[in-house]
């Protein structure tokens, strides 16, 4: 194979890369460039934007008060004056789906961010430093990992002082706090193993030989190459955390009525599973769409950060 054919084949492989000489490029700018061309990115970004808008400004989507119960029309089917029907309390399901986005999105996003930051940092530290630091951090992680999620969350939430029940944000943060405390070890383990995998590579050694500081080595060599598995797992976990929030609400801890969340609605709809399944269907649909949007975005970001996939 000659130089000419190599040049040709590689320029065929990525036609958008034709401007070789152009302005300076970096991984971030190239990733953004490739994401912009990906329809999946725009679909997922639009969905997430809609859900975030729902969470920030629910009255934009509905004029109905989600806490206005019409008991006489309890379990009304969709179309009987409402879009999605009414639930067992006579609440408008559409309005509750819109208003429920706030709690679910907040719990999902905050918990994911929290576990990624805490677990990722601890994973990078223990993977990069190794030795006794690694042993200590890994054993601490094992301790938290050994506690069953639901049992741990119940104990944690019940034992928190009443101060946390004061306002809406604190209640959400309480749940987030419990899930982060119990959820970080899996991400820390994942990150630790990918850092250990990346660290002995020659390009890391080369950076050290150039006199790069540990921070630079981690930031520009280890993190970009170790991040992919965590992005995938974190976005999948986001859905799981929204579901766990629903479970906790169902068990009577976590978010409590009159707070509105998809989780609460899903668990209260179980009673009508066979007779009026629409009560379960609509909040579940919203939950699934939100989770799908985040998973899709995670996939797109992971692909964009890998130059070989372009």
């Amino acid at each position: 194979m000659t130089e000419a054919t190599i040049t040709e084949s590689s320029s065929v492989a990525d036609p958008h890369d034709a401007g070789d000489v152009g302005e300076e490029r970096s991984l971030a700018s190239d990733a953004w460039r490739s994401m912009r061309k990906n329809p999946m990115f725009w679909i997922s970004a639009t969905m997430i934007a809609v859900f975030v808008l729902m969470a920030v400004w629910p009255s934009l989507f509905t004029k109905t008060d989600p806490t206005f119960a019409v008991l006489a029309e309890s379990r009304a089917k969709p179309g009987d004056g409402t879009w999605f029907g009414r639930d067992i309390q006579g609440y408008d399901i559409y309005a509750r789906c819109i208003y429920g986005a706030r709690a679910s999105i907040l719990v999902g996003l905050f918990t994911t961010t929290g576990t990624v930051l805490l677990g990722g940092t601890i994973g990078v530290i223990s993977g990069y430093l190794g030795g006794w630091v690694d042993a200590l951090l890994s054993r601490i992680g094992d301790v938290f990992f050994a506690i069953p999620l639901l049992l741990g969350a119940i104990i944690f939430l019940v034992s928190l002082p009443d101060f946390f029940n004061d306002n809406y944000l604190l209640i959400v943060l309480k749940v987030v706090f419990a899930l982060v405390i119990l959820g970080w070890p899996s991400l820390a383990r994942l990150m630790r193993s990918s850092v250990i995998q990346v660290k002995p590579n020659d390009y890391v050694q080369a950076a050290r030989a150039l006199g790069a500081s540990p921070w630079r080595v981690i930031r520009s060599h280890i993190l970009p190459n170790a991040l992919a598995p965590m992005i995938v797992v974190a976005t999948i976990n986001l859905g799981a955390y929204i579901a766990v929030e629903a479970t906790l609400s169902f068990l009577g801890i976590g978010l409590q009525p009159p707070a509105i969340s998809w989780g609460i609605d899903i668990s209260s709809a179980i009673v009508g599973l066979r007779t009026t399944p629409h009560m379960l269907f609509f909040p579940s649909l919203f939950l699934s769409l939100a989770v799908l949007a985040f998973i899709m975005l995670g996939d797109v970001v992971r692909d964009a950060l890998d130059p070989k996939n372009r």
């Binding site: 490029r25 991984l27 020659d202 050694q205 050290r208 150039l210 006199g211």
Partner: protein, 408 residues
């Protein structure tokens, strides 16, 4: 003799072996065990030896990627072992490394511009910020790559091109010493020739001194001024390229050289090939006295009791450093010295257009017809020098894997 730039003084690297729950240290792997040499300005010191003899560890010690257990690395009279972090950073500008595997030595998520430009980011005062991109393009040009490919990623290049990127990164800070840890072992033969020629060109232009670590004796002979032979963490023999290759006095060097495949079928079976018996002893428990005595045909009682020092020993013409009690020269049919010949310009660039002599790799018979006789000779000789690794990439396996030619 020019001044000494880099000097290794009795370098030792022992890795602890830990066992059990308490991770008690039960022994040490003696990867490098007392190696000393001087590297002069602008010269190439080849380090050869079989797998596991400590060559790469030595390179990493020289680069301070590993802390030596004892001994020191002295750069231009300054001891690098006790240097402060600030001095170490400064010294790193003067000693750089090129790695063996071009597929793992470049960060797959950085553009070539970022990879070659990273030295300037770390040592920000070398090139002002505005001029860095231009400097990177100059470097790419210098190593024979298209400067317009600055925005490409490593996976868009071939192995040889990637190794050039690695070399460009290594020379970016204008180092005085470049440690090359098997820089051509992962490349195929024609590309090896390109890269070796490039390194010679850079040495002439930039006055670099190379520590060239390799297991390929032909390549080492081609590029080196002096050669050191390592066995089990020790230097067995060290001397000028001629002295080591033409008049080896250490039995291990002789065995090593006799195992180099000679691309001449008429010599088959006629060569005096020394086949060593047994395996390399474990570096965790090296033999007493001379490390080679367990496999040496000359070994006597003194070898297992008294350790031979690396000192000047007679080699017939003069004397060079050798660590054998019974050092004596022995003529081995070995690789051809092509260092006196005109460098072959056909492979110095990656732009392979129409090479009129497409059969050059086949030796005189394949490519000699169209050439004048002197040129044909040089082609053949060069082909001999470059061919062996293609046929048997691991020369040293011949030491133990050739039952047919046992000496009688």
């Amino acid at each position: 003799m020019p001044e000494v730039v880099l000097s290794a003084q009795n370098l030792v690297k022992h890795y602890p072996i830990r066992r059990g729950v308490l991770r008690r240290t039960v022994g040490h792997v003696k990867a490098v065990d007392g190696v000393s040499f001087d590297l002069h300005k602008g010269e190439t010191l080849g380090i050869v030896g079989e797998s596991g003899c400590g060559k790469s560890t030595l390179g990493r010690l020289l680069m301070r990627l590993e802390e030596p257990t004892s001994g020191s690395v002295v750069f231009e009279g300054q001891d690098w072992s006790g240097a402060s972090p600030k001095d170490t950073r400064r010294l790193r500008r003067d000693i750089q490394i090129v790695f063996q595997d071009p597929y793992t030595s470049l960060n797959p998520r950085m553009t070539v511009g970022d990879i070659v430009g990273e030295p300037f980011e770390i040592h920000a005062d070398v090139v002002p910020k505005g001029g860095r991109r231009k400097r990177v393009q100059e470097l790419l040009d210098l190593v024979g790559l298209n400067p317009e490919h600055i925005n490409r990623y490593p996976h868009q290049f071939s192995g040889g091109q990637r190794q050039r990127i690695g070399i460009a990164r290594g020379i970016a800070l204008n180092p005085k010493v470049l440690v090359c840890d098997e820089p051509v072992s992962a490349l195929d033969v024609s590309v090896q020739a390109q890269v070796v020629n490039l390194m010679e060109k850079l040495q002439d232009e930039l006055g670099l001194a190379y520590v060239f670590i390799a297991h390929d004796l032909s390549v080492v002979r081609h590029i080196s001024d002096r050669v050191g032979v390592m066995y089990l963490g020790r230097m067995a023999e060290l001397g000028e390229e001629d002295e080591v290759y033409a008049r080896p006095t250490h039995p291990y060097t002789q065995a090593l050289l006799s195992a180099v495949p000679v691309p001449d079928p008429t010599l088959r079976g006629k060569r005096d090939q020394i086949v060593l018996v047994g395996d390399v002893p474990s570096p965790a428990n090296p033999p007493s006295g001379c490390r080679f005595h367990t496999r040496c045909w000359k070994a006597q009682d003194v070898c297992s009791q008294q350790e031979p020092q690396l000192e000047l020993r007679d080699d017939g013409h003069g004397a060079h450093l050798s660590a054998c009690h019974f050092a004596e020269p022995r003529v081995i049919v070995e690789t051809t010295d092509v260092s006196g010949l005109q460098p072959d310009t056909r492979f110095t660039t990656t732009e392979v257009g129409d090479v009129p002599d497409s059969g050059a790799g086949l030796g005189a018979a394949g490519g000699g017809e169209e050439l004048g006789s002197s040129q044909a000779d040089s082609t053949a000789e060069r082909a001999e020098a470059m061919d062996p690794p293609a046929r048997r990439p691991d020369d040293l396996s011949a030491l133990t894997e050739d039952p047919q030619d046992r000496p009688r």
